[in-house]
C-alpha cells in the first residue's frame, strides 16, 4: 500500500470496501426475496451524526455500524466481531456508549450519534487521543477508536479511579494486540488532566 499510486490507504480500502459491499448485497437480496415474506419497507430516520443532521432512509435490518461505515463513509468505527462481543464498534448514542453492531439504525430517529471522527475539536486532538499516542495505547490500531470512545464515556461517568476500576469499566473492549497496559496508562493520564 504505497503512496506512489496516488491513492491513500483509506481511499483504497474505501473503494475496495464498496466493491465488496456491492458484490455481497446482490446475492443476499436475491436470497432474501426468494421465500415468500412480508416486504420490509424502508424506514426514514433523522439522526444527528457528529453534530450534522443526517436524514436517511434505511432498511430495518441495517445496523448503525453499517450505516456509519458504508453509507456515511465514517470508517473510523471498526467492525470486529459484529456480534456485540469485542467493542471495536463502540460509539455514543445520546451521550452513552453502545455497540453499534447490535443497534438497528431504524430505532435511532431523533438520536445524537458521536463517532471517533466527532471527538477532536478541529485539528486539536481530544485529550484521550493524545494520551493514547503518548502511552502507546495501541499496536495495530484496529480496536483503538472503540477503546477511545469507550474511555471517553468512562471518564465522563467519573467512577473509575484506580487501574483496576479502569480495567473493569473497559472490559467490553478487547485488544488482540494486548496493548492493555498502554491503554490503562493513557486513560489515567487523560483522567488526571481532566480533574
Amino acid at each position: 500500500m504505497t503512496e506512489s499510486y496516488g491513492i491513500s490507504r483509506r481511499e483504497l480500502l474505501g473503494r475496495s470496501g464498496t466493491v465488496a459491499a456491492v458484490a455481497a448485497t446482490v446475492p443476499l437480496a436475491v436470497a432474501d426475496t426468494a421465500p415468500a415474506r412480508a416486504t420490509t419497507g424502508e424506514v426514514g430516520v433523522r439522526m444527528t451524526v457528529n453534530g450534522s443532521v443526517t436524514p436517511l432512509t434505511v432498511d430495518p435490518r441495517e445496523t448503525l455500524l453499517d450505516v456509519l461505515r458504508e453509507r456515511l463513509h465514517l470508517t473510523g468505527t471498526k467492525k470486529g466481531c459484529d456480534r456485540g462481543q469485542c467493542g471495536a464498534c463502540t460509539v455514543h448514542v445520546d451521550g452513552e456508549r453502545v455497540v453499534s453492531c447490535l443497534t438497528l439504525a431504524a430505532t435511532l430517529g431523533g438520536s445524537r450519534v458521536t463517532t471517533i471522527e466527532g471527538l477532536a475539536r478541529g485539528d486539536r486532538l481530544h485529550p484521550l487521543q493524545q494520551a493514547f499516542i503518548d502511552h502507546d495505547g495501541f499496536q495495530c490500531g484496529f480496536c483503538t477508536s472503540g477503546q477511545i470512545m469507550s474511555a471517553a464515556a468512562v471518564l465522563a461517568d467519573g467512577r473509575a479511579r484506580t487501574d483496576d476500576e479502569v480495567r473493569e469499566q473497559m472490559s467490553g473492549n478487547l485488544c488482540r494486540c494486548g496493548a492493555y497496559p498502554g491503554i490503562v496508562a493513557a486513560i489515567q493520564q487523560a483522567r488526571k488532566e481532566a480533574s
Partner: protein, 325 residues
C-alpha cells in the same frame, strides 16, 4: 438477516393488539439483533417497544417496581436498589460490559436466550432451536452447560445473572396481553426443558413484560452476589451465588439462596436455606449447608468440576456476607 416488518407502537395497547405468530419485541436488541444476524431468530415482524412508557423504578404497595424497559446500567445505579437489594446491583454490574448494560433492558435480560454454542449455530442440530433435531451438547462440548434441571432433550444453562438474584428475592413479573394483566412468580416463569426445550418461559404469544416487582425484604440490605468465571470480567458465570441472611445474634434465622451457571433455569435452593436456618453463623454451618446445593446434580463429561465449584462459591458468598455490617 432475514427480512422483517418493522413497527414502532406508541402505546402498550397497540403493542399487544395483534399477537401474530412470528412477532418479536425489540428492547435493547443485544440478544435479538445478535440472534437475528445468526438467523437463530427469524421474526417476520419486529415491534420496537422503546417508546412505550415501561419505565421507572419506584416503591409501590407490592414492593419495588422496575419498569421492563429500564436499562441494566440505570437499575444497578439506582439508590433504592443499591441500598435495599445490593445483590441485584452486584449481579447487574457483574453482567456483560458497560456498553451492553447501557443498551440492555430488564425485561430483555430475563428473556435472553442460552449461550449454548450449538443453539447459536444454525448448521448443527439443536432441540431448542429446531425441536426434535437432537442435542449435540450432551455428547459434545458441554463445559458451560447445566448440571441441574437438565433433560435428555436439552442441557443448556440459563445465562442471566439478574434472574438468579431476583429469584432469591421472590420477584414477580407483570405481564400484559390483550386479555389483561397478570403476575407470575419469576420462579415459575422460566420453564424446565423437559421434552419441550423450545418453550423457555410462561409467556403467551404477544404478551409483554411490563414490570418486575421485588417484594420488600428488609434484611436483603445484607446480601451479596458472587460470580465465578473464566476471566475476571465480561464473561458468563461458571458458577454464581445470590445470598441474603437474616441473623438473630450469632444464629442464622432465615436465608435466601439461589445459584447461576448450574441450572437450566435460575436455581433457587430451598434445601440449603432450610439447612442454614437455626445454625450458628459460621463457616462450618455454611459448608454443611452447601452440601445440599448439589442434591440431584448430573454432571456432563466436561463439567464434572461444577458441583464442587458450586459448593465453594456458596460458602464464599456466605463468608463475604459476614463481613458486611
Amino acid at each position: 438477516m432475514r427480512e422483517f416488518r418493522f413497527e414502532r407502537p406508541g402505546t402498550v395497547a397497540d403493542a399487544v393488539r395483534r399477537p401474530a405468530p412470528g412477532t418479536a419485541f425489540l428492547a435493547g436488541g443485544t440478544t435479538l439483533v445478535d440472534l437475528m444476524k445468526l438467523e437463530v431468530m427469524t421474526p417476520a415482524r419486529v415491534l420496537d417497544i422503546n417508546r412505550l412508557p415501561l419505565r421507572g423504578i419506584d416503591q409501590t404497595r407490592d414492593g419495588l417496581r422496575i419498569g421492563a424497559l429500564e436499562r441494566m446500567r440505570d437499575v444497578a445505579a439506582h439508590d433504592l436498589v443499591r441500598r435495599r437489594y445490593p445483590m441485584l446491583a452486584q449481579a447487574l454490574e457483574a453482567s456483560a460490559s458497560g456498553q451492553l448494560r447501557n443498551m440492555a433492558s430488564i425485561g430483555g435480560n430475563l428473556l435472553q436466550r442460552t449461550r449454548c454454542g450449538y443453539f447459536r449455530d444454525v448448521s448443527v442440530p439443536c432441540n431448542k432451536r429446531a425441536p426434535g433435531s437432537g442435542c449435540p451438547a450432551i455428547e459434545g462440548e458441554n463445559r458451560m452447560h447445566a448440571v441441574l434441571g437438565a433433560s435428555d432433550a436439552c442441557v443448556a444453562t440459563h445465562p442471566s445473572d439478574l434472574a438468579v438474584a431476583l429469584v432469591a428475592l421472590d420477584a414477580t413479573v407483570r405481564l400484559r396481553s390483550r386479555a389483561g394483566t397478570r403476575d407470575v412468580a419469576l420462579r415459575d416463569f422460566h420453564l424446565l426443558p423437559g421434552t419441550t426445550p423450545e418453550r423457555e418461559h410462561d409467556l403467551r404469544p404477544g404478551e409483554l413484560v411490563t414490570d418486575v416487582i421485588v417484594p420488600d425484604l428488609g434484611w436483603a440490605s445484607r446480601s451479596v452476589y458472587v460470580k465465578i468465571r473464566d476471566r475476571q470480567s465480561y464473561e458468563f458465570a461458571l458458577a454464581s451465588a445470590a445470598v441474603a441472611v437474616r441473623r438473630d445474634g450469632d444464629t442464622i434465622a432465615e436465608a435466601r439462596v439461589a445459584v447461576g451457571g448450574m441450572g437450566t433455569r435460575p436455581w433457587r435452593l430451598p434445601a440449603v436455606e432450610a439447612a442454614l436456618a437455626g445454625r450458628p453463623a459460621a463457616e462450618a454451618s455454611y459448608t454443611a449447608a452447601a452440601e445440599h446445593a448439589t442434591d440431584g446434580v448430573r454432571p456432563l463429561r466436561h463439567n464434572a468440576f461444577k458441583p464442587a465449584l458450586m459448593r465453594r462459591t456458596l460458602v464464599r458468598a456466605l463468608l463475604e456476607l459476614e463481613r458486611i455490617r
